[in-house]
């Protein structure tokens, strides 16, 4: 059974500093997704990573994938308050669109 673990579960950030969220998964995967969820809201797609070494960037967020290590990272550069949210990684094991989600990382950016 595929297991997806994120850490940390909670991250208190200071504005202007850099941080990383880690997503480990237990079996070979075809693709990995990152989603953002604001409190009481839906999930918003951030990135999809399709191959080993893939790197995607959007604004202050950068995601990367190492399929050999079964690890994805979400790097936040110069955190700002607007990035406060819960971030989820999700793994699609066999391109069958059966996503297995990590437990989420709650991010709180303090001024």
């Amino acid at each position: 059974e595929l297991k997806v673990e994120q850490n940390p579960l909670f991250l208190s950030m200071q504005e202007g500093k850099n941080y990383t969220i880690y997503c480990n998964y237990s079996t070979t995967s075809d693709r990995l997704y990152w989603y953002r969820q604001d409190p009481g809201k839906s999930l918003e797609s951030l990135f999809v990573l399709l191959s080993n070494g893939a790197v995607k960037q959007e604004g202050r967020l950068m995601a990367s994938l190492d399929t050999k290590a079964r690890l994805s990272t979400l790097h936040i550069t110069a955190a700002v308050h607007d990035l406060s949210a819960t971030y989820f990684c999700a793994v699609d094991m066999a391109a069958g669109n059966k996503l297995t989600f990590g437990g989420g990382t709650r991010v709180l950016v303090k001024p």
Binding site: S42, L43, S45, V48, N97, K98, L99, T100, G104
Partner: protein, 111 residues
């Protein structure tokens, strides 16, 4: 021009009742999903339909029955509601094997 919509947004009901949640997408996708997000924010897939055919059916009590009248709609009917069914239920849609887009969620509270 909402992409994935769900009704109702909130549902409060008594134990033992039967209720339905409706989902519609106007993205032209061929695959739709139901997810359950529990009080700890953990997300788990319940069902998936592709072109009205059930393709993912996770270990879910048979009190839960999905129905897809057409590619753009996926409903979830729940019989004999229990306290443990309280959660947020998200509908999502995608083109097969592509990024899933989530609806706003339905917060179900069983009293």
């Amino acid at each position: 021009d909402t992409a994935v919509s769900q009704t109702p947004k909130y549902l409060v009901t008594q134990m033992g009742n039967d209720k339905s949640i409706k989902c519609e997408q106007n993205l032209g996708h061929d695959t739709m999903y139901w997810y359950k997000q529990d009080s700890k924010k953990f997300l788990k897939i319940m069902f998936s339909y592709n072109n009205k055919e059930l393709i993912i059916n996770e270990t879910v009590p048979n009190r839960f029955s999905p129905k897809s009248p057409d590619k753009a709609h996926l409903n979830l009917h729940i019989n004999s509601l229990e306290l443990g069914d309280s959660a947020v239920y998200f509908c999502a849609s995608s083109r097969r094997s592509y990024t899933q887009y989530f609806g706003p969620g339905t917060r179900l509270t069983v009293l």
